[in-house]
């Protein structure tokens, strides 16, 4: 049984936003325009948080890409009255759009603000509708959506490996954000495979979880920045 996880090396992240763009393209994430975005209705399954430290000229800017942390003890799951938000056997926090009735309890429960509600039916002006990803469903108004760890890529890699009668190997699955990252700050893989790159990184002494004290047991590990003494 696999257990999917992600490691984010904050030392490598330059805050360029390629991961956000890649995620939008891969997952058919609609845009809502400036007015609605100003009301907090923009949907980025992955966002780059920005932290300033110090005053000019001794000022530092630090970035942190934040996506669904795919918690093992996910606060979003027990609150869902329709089991739209549930835990898969491989440890993903899955969202079943067809079950979702839009109570938004899960978004209230999520301590990471990584669940996004469709306030509108999505639309793509021609010819942008031609770039929709056929492997990902387009969500309609009134449902909650979130980072899936690119579950469509996970499933297709597993199907391909099975058809070729071989085991899935580390690196077969790349999430869209990982593929888009020019600094290779993001590493996706199987946490149950002790030899995988993500396992190795997740056990690093630099590794931390986001809001670890909340006890959500995230499967995303952030590797702390290293400073030169």
């Amino acid at each position: 049984m696999h257990k999917w996880g992600l490691a984010v090396d904050l030392d490598r992240c330059t805050g360029c936003g390629s991961c956000v763009t890649a995620c939008h393209a891969e997952n058919n994430i609609p845009t809502v325009g400036p007015e609605q975005a100003g009301r907090g209705r923009a949907m980025h399954w992955l966002r780059v948080e920005r932290y300033w430290e110090g005053d000019f000229p001794d000022v530092q800017l630090k970035f942190r890409p934040v996506m669904c942390q795919q918690c093992d003890a996910a606060p979003c799951e027990p609150v869902c009255p329709t089991y739209a938000s549930h835990h898969t056997a491989e440890g993903l926090n899955a969202q079943v759009y067809n079950r979702c009735i839009g109570t938004r309890y899960c978004a209230n429960a999520c301590p990471y603000n990584t669940r996004y509600f469709d306030f509108f039916n999505p639309s793509w002006p021609k010819p942008l509708h031609l770039q929709l990803n056929p492997d990902v469903s387009v969500r309609e108004v009134g449902v909650m959506e979130k980072c899936t760890f690119c579950v469509q890529r996970i499933n297709s890699a597993q199907i391909e490996a099975k058809a070729a009668k071989r085991e899935l190997k580390d690196g077969d699955i790349k999430t869209a954000c990982q593929q888009g990252c020019p600094a290779q700050a993001l590493v996706f893989g199987d946490l149950n495979d002790p030899e995988s790159e993500v396992s190795r990184l997740s056990k690093s002494p630099r590794g931390t979880k986001l809001l670890e004290d909340v006890g959500t047991l995230p499967k995303v590990t952030y590797l702390a920045r290293q400073t030169q003494a």
Binding site: G15, P34, E35, A37, G38, R39, G40, A42, H44, R47, V48, E49, R50, Y51, W52, G54, D55, F56, P57, V59, L61, N113
Partner: protein, 121 residues
Amino acid sequence: MWSSWVELNPQTAERLNIAQGDLVDVTSPAGVVRAPAMIFPGIAPDIVAMPVGQGHEQFTRYASKRGVNPIAILAPQVVAEANTLAWAATRVRIARAGDADGSLVMFAGEMRERPREGETR
């Protein structure tokens, strides 16, 4: 982020009584443009910066009539040695022109956070 903005050092903004998102008039000898202020700790206190590339009069339905064009107020100065436009040599006056009107829309850091003090959302 959409549209244009004016990057201001936090100390400069405080001195001029300008808060994040407040509308600011940037006046140079060549003209004036109005854009929301963005408090930006990475800029020197005596410098203001604006992004170039917005404020098109005509450039398709998506790009036209968005933001302002700071090139319109650049002073016609040249770098003598290179005989090129001196992009960052224009002296400007910064003045608060009005309260935040929601035209500064940011994703990084602020998204879906608690509203700032005195702000209702």
